[in-house]
Subunit: 126 residues, 2 copies
DNA sequence: CTTACATTTGCAACTAAGTTGCATTAATAA
DNA sequence: TTATTAATGCAACTTAGTTGCAAATGTAAG
Protein backbone atom coordinates (compact mmCIF):
# COMPACT_ATOMS: atom_id res chain seq x y z
CA UNK A 1 0.00 0.00 0.00
CA UNK A 2 1.54 3.27 -1.14
CA UNK A 3 1.23 6.91 -0.16
CA UNK A 4 -2.32 8.30 -0.11
CA UNK A 5 -2.02 11.61 1.73
CA UNK A 6 0.69 14.19 1.14
CA UNK A 7 1.63 14.86 4.73
CA UNK A 8 4.41 17.07 6.02
CA UNK A 9 6.49 14.02 6.97
CA UNK A 10 6.30 12.69 3.44
CA UNK A 11 7.45 16.05 2.04
CA UNK A 12 10.37 16.29 4.47
CA UNK A 13 11.49 12.77 3.67
CA UNK A 14 11.22 13.25 -0.07
CA UNK A 15 13.34 16.39 0.19
CA UNK A 16 16.25 14.26 1.35
CA UNK A 17 16.16 12.36 -1.92
CA UNK A 18 16.66 15.27 -4.30
CA UNK A 19 19.97 13.87 -5.46
CA UNK A 20 19.13 10.95 -7.71
CA UNK A 21 22.51 9.26 -7.40
CA UNK A 22 22.88 9.28 -3.64
CA UNK A 23 21.48 6.52 -1.44
CA UNK A 24 20.64 7.14 2.20
CA UNK A 25 20.50 4.57 4.95
CA UNK A 26 17.60 4.32 7.37
CA UNK A 27 20.07 5.06 10.16
CA UNK A 28 21.23 8.26 8.47
CA UNK A 29 17.66 9.36 7.89
CA UNK A 30 16.66 8.71 11.51
CA UNK A 31 19.64 10.78 12.68
CA UNK A 32 18.84 13.64 10.29
CA UNK A 33 15.07 13.68 10.64
CA UNK A 34 14.59 12.27 14.12
CA UNK A 35 13.68 15.71 15.45
CA UNK A 36 10.94 16.14 12.87
CA UNK A 37 9.32 12.74 12.98
CA UNK A 38 9.35 9.39 14.71
CA UNK A 39 11.56 6.60 13.41
CA UNK A 40 8.51 4.38 12.93
CA UNK A 41 7.09 7.03 10.63
CA UNK A 42 10.34 7.10 8.67
CA UNK A 43 10.33 3.34 8.16
CA UNK A 44 6.67 3.37 7.17
CA UNK A 45 6.96 6.21 4.68
CA UNK A 46 10.06 4.70 3.09
CA UNK A 47 8.21 1.44 2.61
CA UNK A 48 5.29 3.22 0.97
CA UNK A 49 7.51 5.28 -1.30
CA UNK A 50 9.19 2.08 -2.41
CA UNK A 51 5.81 0.51 -3.14
CA UNK A 52 4.95 3.53 -5.24
CA UNK A 53 8.13 3.20 -7.32
CA UNK A 54 9.47 6.52 -6.08
CA UNK A 55 12.33 4.99 -4.11
CA UNK A 56 14.22 1.73 -4.39
CA UNK A 57 16.36 0.00 -1.79
CA UNK A 58 19.29 -2.30 -1.25
CA UNK A 59 21.14 -3.69 1.74
CA UNK A 60 24.68 -2.39 2.21
CA UNK A 61 27.77 -4.29 3.22
CA UNK A 62 26.96 -3.43 6.83
CA UNK A 63 23.53 -5.04 6.59
CA UNK A 64 21.73 -1.70 6.83
CA UNK A 65 19.05 -0.88 4.29
CA UNK A 66 19.57 2.10 2.00
CA UNK A 67 17.12 3.98 -0.19
CA UNK A 68 17.56 6.07 -3.30
CA UNK A 69 15.33 7.83 -5.77
CA UNK A 70 14.10 5.86 -8.77
CA UNK A 71 14.52 7.34 -12.23
CA UNK A 72 11.84 5.64 -14.21
CA UNK A 73 9.78 3.38 -12.02
CA UNK A 74 6.08 3.35 -11.29
CA UNK A 75 3.81 1.51 -8.90
CA UNK A 76 3.32 -1.31 -11.40
CA UNK A 77 6.71 -1.32 -13.09
CA UNK A 78 9.89 -1.39 -11.03
CA UNK A 79 12.49 -1.24 -13.74
CA UNK A 80 15.25 0.53 -11.86
CA UNK A 81 17.96 -2.12 -11.67
CA UNK A 82 21.54 -0.94 -11.46
CA UNK A 83 24.65 -1.49 -9.32
CA UNK A 84 25.31 0.38 -6.09
CA UNK A 85 28.58 1.70 -4.82
CA UNK A 86 29.70 2.14 -1.23
CA UNK A 87 32.77 4.26 -0.38
CA UNK A 88 34.86 2.87 2.46
CA UNK A 89 36.41 6.29 3.13
CA UNK A 90 33.50 8.72 3.37
CA UNK A 91 30.74 6.14 3.80
CA UNK A 92 28.67 7.58 0.98
CA UNK A 93 26.66 5.16 -1.13
CA UNK A 94 25.34 5.87 -4.58
CA UNK A 95 23.54 4.47 -7.59
CA UNK A 96 25.72 3.68 -10.58
CA UNK A 97 24.34 4.58 -13.95
CA UNK A 98 25.89 1.62 -15.72
CA UNK A 99 24.64 -1.60 -17.20
CA UNK A 100 25.55 -5.00 -15.74
CA UNK A 101 24.99 -8.14 -17.68
CA UNK A 102 24.23 -11.18 -15.57
CA UNK A 103 25.78 -14.33 -16.99
CA UNK A 104 23.39 -16.90 -18.43
CA UNK A 105 21.87 -19.15 -15.81
CA UNK A 106 21.03 -22.37 -17.63
CA UNK A 107 19.35 -24.24 -14.79
CA UNK A 108 18.00 -21.41 -12.66
CA UNK A 109 15.28 -18.82 -12.99
CA UNK A 110 16.59 -15.33 -12.28
CA UNK A 111 14.02 -12.94 -10.82
CA UNK A 112 16.19 -10.16 -9.47
CA UNK A 113 19.85 -9.38 -9.00
CA UNK A 114 21.91 -6.73 -7.32
CA UNK A 115 25.52 -5.81 -7.67
CA UNK A 116 27.14 -4.08 -4.74
CA UNK A 117 30.57 -2.54 -5.13
CA UNK A 118 32.89 -1.45 -2.35
CA UNK A 119 35.73 0.98 -2.93
CA UNK A 120 36.77 4.60 -2.97
CA UNK A 121 34.58 7.21 -4.57
CA UNK A 122 35.83 9.92 -6.91
CA UNK A 123 36.30 12.40 -4.06
CA UNK A 124 38.18 9.95 -1.82
CA UNK A 125 40.45 8.49 -4.52
CA UNK A 126 43.37 10.73 -3.35
CA UNK B 1 42.89 -13.41 14.50
CA UNK B 2 42.14 -16.84 13.12
CA UNK B 3 41.72 -20.32 14.58
CA UNK B 4 44.55 -21.52 16.80
CA UNK B 5 43.17 -24.59 18.55
CA UNK B 6 41.23 -27.39 16.91
CA UNK B 7 38.35 -27.63 19.34
CA UNK B 8 35.28 -29.82 19.09
CA UNK B 9 33.13 -26.78 18.30
CA UNK B 10 35.34 -25.89 15.35
CA UNK B 11 35.09 -29.45 14.01
CA UNK B 12 31.31 -29.54 14.37
CA UNK B 13 30.95 -26.21 12.60
CA UNK B 14 33.30 -27.13 9.79
CA UNK B 15 31.32 -30.33 9.21
CA UNK B 16 28.35 -28.21 8.22
CA UNK B 17 30.36 -26.74 5.36
CA UNK B 18 31.22 -29.95 3.54
CA UNK B 19 29.21 -28.87 0.52
CA UNK B 20 31.26 -26.23 -1.21
CA UNK B 21 28.38 -24.71 -3.09
CA UNK B 22 25.92 -24.26 -0.25
CA UNK B 23 25.90 -21.18 1.95
CA UNK B 24 24.49 -21.28 5.48
CA UNK B 25 23.10 -18.37 7.44
CA UNK B 26 24.10 -17.68 11.02
CA UNK B 27 20.45 -18.17 11.97
CA UNK B 28 20.37 -21.63 10.38
CA UNK B 29 23.60 -22.59 12.10
CA UNK B 30 22.37 -21.44 15.50
CA UNK B 31 19.19 -23.51 15.03
CA UNK B 32 21.11 -26.57 13.95
CA UNK B 33 24.01 -26.39 16.37
CA UNK B 34 22.48 -24.53 19.28
CA UNK B 35 22.35 -27.69 21.34
CA UNK B 36 26.07 -28.33 20.88
CA UNK B 37 27.43 -24.85 21.42
CA UNK B 38 26.52 -21.30 22.35
CA UNK B 39 25.52 -18.83 19.66
CA UNK B 40 28.37 -16.54 20.71
CA UNK B 41 30.77 -19.39 19.99
CA UNK B 42 29.21 -19.89 16.57
CA UNK B 43 29.63 -16.21 15.67
CA UNK B 44 33.21 -16.19 16.95
CA UNK B 45 34.29 -19.34 15.14
CA UNK B 46 32.71 -18.19 11.89
CA UNK B 47 34.61 -14.92 12.11
CA UNK B 48 37.88 -16.74 12.68
CA UNK B 49 37.30 -19.20 9.86
CA UNK B 50 36.67 -16.25 7.58
CA UNK B 51 39.90 -14.61 8.69
CA UNK B 52 41.71 -17.82 7.88
CA UNK B 53 40.32 -17.94 4.35
CA UNK B 54 38.40 -21.15 5.03
CA UNK B 55 34.98 -19.53 4.80
CA UNK B 56 33.70 -16.44 3.05
CA UNK B 57 30.51 -14.50 3.72
CA UNK B 58 27.87 -12.30 2.19
CA UNK B 59 24.68 -10.64 3.37
CA UNK B 60 21.47 -12.05 1.91
CA UNK B 61 18.41 -10.19 0.70
CA UNK B 62 16.97 -10.56 4.21
CA UNK B 63 19.98 -8.82 5.76
CA UNK B 64 21.21 -12.00 7.42
CA UNK B 65 24.84 -13.00 7.01
CA UNK B 66 25.64 -16.24 5.25
CA UNK B 67 28.83 -18.27 5.11
CA UNK B 68 30.20 -20.77 2.62
CA UNK B 69 33.38 -22.73 2.14
CA UNK B 70 36.17 -21.10 0.14
CA UNK B 71 37.75 -23.05 -2.68
CA UNK B 72 41.14 -21.48 -2.99
CA UNK B 73 41.66 -18.83 -0.35
CA UNK B 74 44.28 -18.52 2.35
CA UNK B 75 44.83 -16.28 5.34
CA UNK B 76 46.76 -13.79 3.19
CA UNK B 77 44.95 -14.18 -0.11
CA UNK B 78 41.18 -13.98 -0.28
CA UNK B 79 40.60 -14.64 -3.94
CA UNK B 80 37.18 -16.27 -3.73
CA UNK B 81 34.93 -13.76 -5.50
CA UNK B 82 31.83 -15.10 -7.19
CA UNK B 83 28.09 -14.43 -7.30
CA UNK B 84 25.64 -15.89 -4.82
CA UNK B 85 22.18 -17.19 -5.48
CA UNK B 86 19.19 -17.24 -3.16
CA UNK B 87 16.12 -19.36 -3.94
CA UNK B 88 12.82 -17.75 -3.02
CA UNK B 89 11.08 -21.12 -2.94
CA UNK B 90 13.23 -23.36 -0.77
CA UNK B 91 15.32 -20.62 0.83
CA UNK B 92 18.60 -22.29 -0.05
CA UNK B 93 21.53 -20.06 -0.94
CA UNK B 94 24.54 -21.15 -2.88
CA UNK B 95 27.80 -20.06 -4.47
CA UNK B 96 27.78 -19.77 -8.24
CA UNK B 97 30.82 -21.02 -10.06
CA UNK B 98 30.66 -18.39 -12.76
CA UNK B 99 32.66 -15.33 -13.66
CA UNK B 100 31.20 -11.82 -13.45
CA UNK B 101 32.93 -8.94 -15.10
CA UNK B 102 32.46 -5.62 -13.38
CA UNK B 103 32.17 -2.74 -15.83
CA UNK B 104 35.08 -0.31 -15.92
CA UNK B 105 34.91 2.34 -13.22
CA UNK B 106 36.81 5.28 -14.60
CA UNK B 107 36.61 7.57 -11.58
CA UNK B 108 36.35 5.09 -8.73
CA UNK B 109 38.64 2.57 -7.13
CA UNK B 110 36.97 -0.83 -6.88
CA UNK B 111 38.13 -2.91 -3.91
CA UNK B 112 35.45 -5.56 -3.70
CA UNK B 113 32.18 -6.43 -5.32
CA UNK B 114 29.40 -8.90 -4.80
CA UNK B 115 26.60 -9.99 -7.04
CA UNK B 116 23.53 -11.38 -5.34
CA UNK B 117 20.89 -13.12 -7.43
CA UNK B 118 17.36 -13.97 -6.38
CA UNK B 119 15.30 -16.57 -8.12
CA UNK B 120 14.35 -20.23 -8.28
CA UNK B 121 16.98 -22.92 -7.99
CA UNK B 122 17.22 -25.96 -10.25
CA UNK B 123 15.11 -28.07 -7.90
CA UNK B 124 12.37 -25.46 -7.48
CA UNK B 125 12.11 -24.47 -11.16
CA UNK B 126 9.19 -26.93 -11.64
C1' DC C 1 -17.01 26.14 7.20
C1' DT C 2 -18.05 21.95 9.62
C1' DT C 3 -18.32 17.28 10.09
C1' DA C 4 -17.15 12.55 9.36
C1' DC C 5 -13.90 9.18 8.68
C1' DA C 6 -10.06 6.91 7.06
C1' DT C 7 -5.10 7.61 6.92
C1' DT C 8 -1.13 8.78 9.29
C1' DT C 9 1.58 9.49 13.29
C1' DG C 10 3.83 8.98 17.99
C1' DC C 11 4.81 6.21 21.55
C1' DA C 12 6.15 2.38 24.02
C1' DA C 13 6.99 -2.12 23.98
C1' DC C 14 8.74 -5.75 21.40
C1' DT C 15 11.66 -8.91 18.16
C1' DA C 16 15.78 -10.54 16.29
C1' DA C 17 20.68 -10.38 14.82
C1' DG C 18 24.76 -9.67 16.51
C1' DT C 19 28.30 -8.05 20.28
C1' DT C 20 30.80 -7.61 24.77
C1' DG C 21 32.83 -8.57 29.38
C1' DC C 22 34.13 -11.80 32.40
C1' DA C 23 34.66 -15.98 34.83
C1' DT C 24 35.32 -20.88 33.74
C1' DT C 25 36.94 -24.66 30.82
C1' DA C 26 39.98 -27.02 27.92
C1' DA C 27 43.78 -27.51 24.20
C1' DT C 28 48.68 -27.45 23.68
C1' DA C 29 53.37 -27.69 24.59
C1' DA C 30 56.99 -27.70 27.91
C1' DT D 1 51.69 -33.17 34.94
C1' DT D 2 51.44 -28.64 34.91
C1' DA D 3 51.40 -23.92 33.20
C1' DT D 4 49.77 -21.10 29.82
C1' DT D 5 46.62 -19.09 26.95
C1' DA D 6 42.93 -19.78 23.68
C1' DA D 7 38.21 -20.94 23.57
C1' DT D 8 33.73 -21.22 25.60
C1' DG D 9 29.23 -20.22 28.12
C1' DC D 10 26.42 -17.09 29.99
C1' DA D 11 24.04 -13.01 30.78
C1' DA D 12 23.53 -8.60 29.66
C1' DC D 13 23.71 -5.40 26.11
C1' DT D 14 23.29 -2.94 21.39
C1' DT D 15 21.02 -1.88 17.30
C1' DA D 16 17.87 -2.28 13.25
C1' DG D 17 13.52 -2.93 12.45
C1' DT D 18 8.37 -4.12 13.74
C1' DT D 19 3.74 -4.01 16.01
C1' DG D 20 -0.53 -2.47 18.39
C1' DC D 21 -3.11 1.08 19.71
C1' DA D 22 -4.70 5.58 20.86
C1' DA D 23 -4.37 10.34 19.30
C1' DA D 24 -3.81 13.55 15.52
C1' DT D 25 -4.49 15.09 10.95
C1' DG D 26 -5.63 15.22 5.84
C1' DT D 27 -9.50 14.95 2.68
C1' DA D 28 -13.81 15.26 0.72
C1' DA D 29 -18.72 15.46 1.32
C1' DG D 30 -22.44 18.19 2.98
ZN1 LIG E 1 34.14 8.68 -0.57
ZN1 LIG F 1 20.03 2.82 -6.94
ZN1 LIG G 1 14.97 -23.81 -4.32
ZN1 LIG H 1 30.39 -18.16 -2.17
Amino acid sequence: MGIIRKTESVEILLNEFQDTETALSTVELITRLGKFMNKTTIYRILEKLEDDGILHSFIGFDGVKRFARCKSCSKSNHSDVHPHFQCISCGKSECLDIEVNIPDMSNREVLFSQLLIKGKCDLCMV
